[in-house]
Symmetry: C2
Subunit: 311 residues, 2 copies
C-alpha cells in the first residue's frame, strides 16, 4: 500500500568548486530543504505553507521551483494526483549553496518515493532541472546533480546530460561562510565575459582535470594547487566585499584553498580534519565581521547520501 | 668510473589527446629517437652524424633540439665536457608524434646517464623544454613530459610547471596513422582563435576532466564519450585532407574515438585489444589511401618507461 504522506530532506550543495565552474559540485550535510507531501482529495497541487523563507518564495505552483519540478514529472508520466505541500527552508535563499536546487530535488524525490515510482535518477534529474530553470533562468546542473546523487559530481556534458560521480577523500572537510548579503545568480552570470582567451580555457581545463586527479588519488596538495578558477571567480570576487579578507584568513589558517560557492556570496574552504575546518571557518567569520559583514558558518564533510526520507 | 659512451632511446609521443589540447600526452613504443654520446678530447659539443632525417635537421648545435637541450643543462651546471653525438631518427619529422621532443629528451637523458649526474626529472624537463622551444617556437610540454616521464601525463600548469602522472588502463591500445604530408606546428597554431566562447572553455574542461576519470577508473565508455576537442581539432581538421575519412573508418571499426595527434598530420585511435587496434589501423590506412594519401601505421600500448639506455 502506498503511504499517504512523506517528508524528505534534500541537501545544500557547493557548486563550481574553483576550476569546476559550471561543471562540478558536491553535497553537504546539515542544511537544505525539507518538503512534506500529502495526497489530498483535490485534483491539484497546492503549496499549503512555506516556512523559513521570510516570505520570499512564491506559492504559485507554476513559479515555485519545487512544484515546477513535480509538475514536469507529472506531465511526463500523465500523473494526476492532488498534493498538499509544506516546504521548510533550512538554508538561506540566494546564498550560493543551491537553495533552489534543494527545493527542486526535494520535490521530485518526494513524489517518486510517495507514489512508489522508482524512476531512474537520470529522469528525476531532468524534471529537477525544469524547476531550477524557473529559479536561475538557465540550465545548470552543478547544484541539482550533486543534490540528487550525493557526493562529488562532474557534469561532463549538458547535451546530452552526462553525470560522472567522482571519488573523494573521506576526510575532506568543508568550511562554509555564508555572508548575509545577496547576489542573484542571473546578475553574477551577466558580469562574466562571453569569450575567454584560449590560454585561459587551457589553464582552466588543466586545473579542472588536476582537481579531479587530486580528489580520486587523495592528493591534498594537488587539490590545493588546482583550485584556481580563471573564468568566473576573478570577475565575481568584486561582488563579495569581504572576498580577499575571508580568503586570506582561510589560507592563513591552513585551508587547502578558498573559493566562492556557486555564484556567491558563500565561500568555502577545504581542509583535512574537522578540527582544522572549525578553526578555518572561525577565521573566515572573523575576517568578514571585521569588514562589517555578518555571516553564518557551517562545517561539513561531503555528503554522500543525497536526498533522504525523514522518518 | 664513468663510461665514455652511451646510447639511449627516447620514445615518440601523442599529445593533445582530444580535449587535453596543450595539456596531455602519452608515450608510445617502437618509434622515437636514438642518440649516441661519446666523450671526446675536444672542448666542445659536435654532432657527428644525423641518420634517418633526410638531411632535414641542423648540425649547428645552437639549432638542433638535442644539443640546445644539452647546452642548457651544461650552462646551468657549468659543465664543460666535449661530446661527439650521433642522432638516429627512428620516426618521421613533422609527424605530430613529438619528433623534436624525442630529440630533446634523448639529449638530456643521455648526458645525465653518461656523466652520472642523477638530476631530478623536473630539471631535465626544463632543459628539454629549452630545446623544444627552438623547434616549435613556443613552450609546450605535452610531448616533452610524457617522453621524459613515460606513461600518460597531465600538465596542470606551465607557470610553475606542474606535471601530474595519470594512471591508465594497461589494455588501452593506440592505433596511429602517420599520413605522409607535413604540417608545421607553428602553422597549425596560427590558425587557432586567440579567444574562445566561454561555453566552449567549459565544455573543454568538462571533457578533459572526464577523460582523466575514464583513464584512472578504466571506464572505456567514458573515455570514448570524452574524447572531443572543441578548441583545436575543429580548426586543424581541415589541414588533413583525409581527416573525416580516417576518423569515420576508425569509428566504424570499433575505435573508442579518433583524434589528431599533436598538431597533426598523424591521427590516433584508442581501443581495448591489440587485435582491435590492428584492425582499426588497417581501416584508417585504407581510408587515407582512398583519398590518395600514403601513410605509415603503428600500433602500441602506452609506454610507461620513458627514455631508456640501450645496452
Amino acid at each position: 500500500m502506498k503511504s499517504k504522506k512523506i517528508k524528505v530532506f534534500a541537501p545544500a550543495t557547493v557548486s563550481n568548486v574553483g576550476p569546476g565552474f559550471d561543471l562540478m559540485g558536491f553535497a553537504i550535510h546539515g542544511i537544505g530543504d525539507e518538503i512534506e507531501l500529502s495526497i489530498s482529495k483535490n485534483n491539484f497541487i497546492q503549496i499549503k505553507k512555506i516556512i523559513g523563507d521570510n516570505n520570499r518564495l512564491p506559492y504559485d505552483t507554476n513559479k515555485n521551483t519545487a512544484t515546477v519540478s513535480i509538475l514536469s514529472l507529472f506531465k511526463s508520466h500523465q500523473i494526476k494526483v492532488g498534493l498538499d505541500i509544506i516546504i521548510r527552508k533550512k538554508m538561506g535563499i540566494g546564498s550560493g549553496l543551491g537553495s533552489s536546487s534543494a527545493s527542486a530535488v526535494a520535490g521530485v524525490f518526494a513524489v517518486d518515493k510517495l507514489l512508489g515510482l522508482n524512476l531512474p535518477k537520470q529522469e528525476l534529474l531532468s524534471h529537477a532541472l525544469a524547476g531550477e530553470l524557473i529559479a536561475s533562468k538557465s540550465i545548470h546542473a552543478d547544484n541539482i546533480a550533486p543534490c540528487l546523487y550525493g557526493g562529488f559530481i562532474l557534469i561532463r556534458s549538458y547535451n546530452p546530460i552526462d553525470i560522472v560521480q567522482i571519488d573523494f577523500p573521506k576526510n575532506l572537510f568543508c568550511s562554509i561562510l555564508y555572508p548575509e548579503i545577496e547576489i542573484k545568480t542571473s546578475e553574477a552570470r551577466k558580469i562574466l565575459d562571453k569569450k575567454v582567451d584560449r590560454s585561459v580555457a587551457i589553464s582552466q581545463a588543466g586545473n579542472a582535470s588536476a582537481l579531479i586527479v587530486g580528489l580520486i588519488k587523495k592528493d591534498f596538495q594537488l587539490i590545493s594547487r588546482s583550485m584556481e578558477d580563471f573564468i568566473a571567480e576573478p570577475k565575481r570576487a568584486v561582488l563579495i566585499p569581504c572576498y580577499n579578507e575571508v580568503r586570506n584568513a582561510a589560507l592563513n589558517s591552513g585551508a587547502l584553498n578558498c573559493n566562492i560557492s556557486g555564484s556567491g556570496p558563500s565561500m568555502f574552504s577545504f581542509s583535512t580534519s574537522e578540527k582544522d575546518a572549525l578553526r578555518i571557518v572561525s577565521a573566515m567569520k572573523t575576517a568578514a565581521f571585521k569588514k562589517g559583514i555578518k555571516s553564518k558558518t557551517f562545517v561539513s564533510m561531503i555528503n554522500d547520501d543525497g536526498p533522504s526520507v525523514i522518518k
